[in-house]
Amino acid sequence: MDYILLIFTAVLVSNVALSQFLGICPFIGVSKKLDSALGMGFAVTFVMTIASALTFVVYQYMLLPLDLGYLRTIAFILVIASLVQLVEMFIKKFSPTLYKALGVYLPLITTNCAVLGIAIANITAGHTFAMAVVNGCASGLGFALAISLLAGIREKMKASDTPDCFKGFPIALVIAAIMSMAFSAFQNMVF
């Protein structure tokens, strides 16, 4: 039951992009087309899951024993940046198809603050290892959901008559704000 609650919370109630406002850069930048938005969403899910596991281990078994818990931000940045590079190399070697599908989004994730945000949130919330991994995966799925929804709306917006000064990013931000308000309704849900 705990896990189901955790997944619901991560995907809907405290959605990374729409209620925590993390990863807004790719959220706005890679949401012009549904295809690329889905690619980005799943690449983030993938990296976030692995990063949650790895940062948990680094924090619990390296930083805490050395009494360096306050270094977690900078240490996690190191871990995530290297991890993304490593994952990219692995995928390039062993699955060219997946590499092509994820394409440029994989290296872009290095700069996605949502990954770091979730890694730190796992620590502050005091999650266990399994919960951290589930939370990472669900948060990634939440991001994928949000970015695909936004991309779907933006594809429709292309055919509509937007005022010139709102074309492109401004109207995307307005859409994102309205989506965020819609998602805030989940915060009143009682499980």
Binding site: L66, L78, F90, K93
Partner: protein
């Protein structure tokens, strides 16, 4: 030693050492795995890529020059699909790939319409203001089926700022900026943007194939197929095909007699070096 900052120096040194250690371990690991996991890549791809224009115009149909180089080496396309390339590089790439490729005459895009405001409207168009949408409404608002709509779809598409709609409501290509990528040619709903040799001295700025009288009734700047240009040409460079003059640019010497004779100012001088 007197500790004037009143801090334990180890509190600074120890975290630094730990972090640097982590960083170095990751760096070595990445460097090592980078070699182990490196993927063999055909050296030809990089050689070919270096010779491509590198502007990622997409005119060849591939997603950018990198992708084109890969497809090219894999045999999925031909060198001449790249319309921007000069003949030197074309020959070099052909040599790398072990094929023969013959370069053509360098060309640029040109809008073959002169009508604009001089061409009558069929109806008043109140829409989104792009040519493609306009064309959907009973073949566009212009009376002429080959008439430039002047809503600047090509101008907005062009990545090089080479096309602009002039004061007469016609798109005009700046040959100095045009890189011959062909994006405007593929998108113009009227198909009136064509390629012309960069060295061409004249251009026939009309594509209306109707008879003279029909053209006269709808456009003040349309070719009426009077054949005065054919008669004026001393070098046999102009022929009438489907009520339109067709210029043989090899024979044209640039005497501009046809330009002077044309009663509708359809044949234009081009500024070439």
């Amino acid at each position: 030693m007197y500790n004037f900052l009143a801090i334990d120096i180890m509190q600074v040194v120890f975290p630094t050492v730990v972090l640097v250690t982590i960083a170095v371990v990751f760096a070595v690991l990445l460097a090592y795995l980078g070699k182990v996991l490196s993927v063999e890549r055909d050296a030809k791809i990089d050689e070919v890529r270096a010779l491509l224009p590198g502007s990622n115009c997409g005119g060849c149909g591939s997603a950018g020059c990198d992708n084109f180089a890969e497809t090219l080496v894999a045999g999925g396309t031909v060198v001449s699909a790249c319309t921007q390339m000069n003949n030197d590089n074309l020959a070099k790439i052909a040599e790398i790939l072990g094929v023969t490729a013959e370069g053509g005459v360098p060309t640029v895009a040109v809008v073959r319409c002169n009508g604009g405001n001089a061409c009558k409207d069929k109806y008043t168009y109140l829409g989104y203001g792009n040519c493609i949408a306009n064309e959907l409404v009973s073949g566009g608002s212009k009376s002429c089926a080959w008439g430039c709509i002047g809503m600047a779809t090509c101008s907005k598409l062009c990545n090089y700022g080479a096309i602009n709609v002039n004061g007469d409501g016609v798109s005009v290509v700046d040959p100095k900026k045009c890189v011959n990528c062909g994006l405007c040619i593929s998108q113009c709903p009227k198909s009136i943007i064509t390629r012309i040799p960069a060295s061409a001295k004249i251009v026939v700025a009309c594509m209306n194939q109707d008879k003279g009288k029909d053209v006269m009734s709808i456009c003040a700047h349309g070719c009426i197929a009077c054949t005065l240009c054919v008669k004026a040409c001393e070098f046999d460079a102009i022929k009438m095909v489907n009520n339109l003059p067709v210029v043989d640019h090899d024979k044209c010497t640039g005497c501009f007699k046809c330009v002077e004779k044309c009663p509708k100012n359809v044949i234009h001088k081009r500024e070439v070096e």
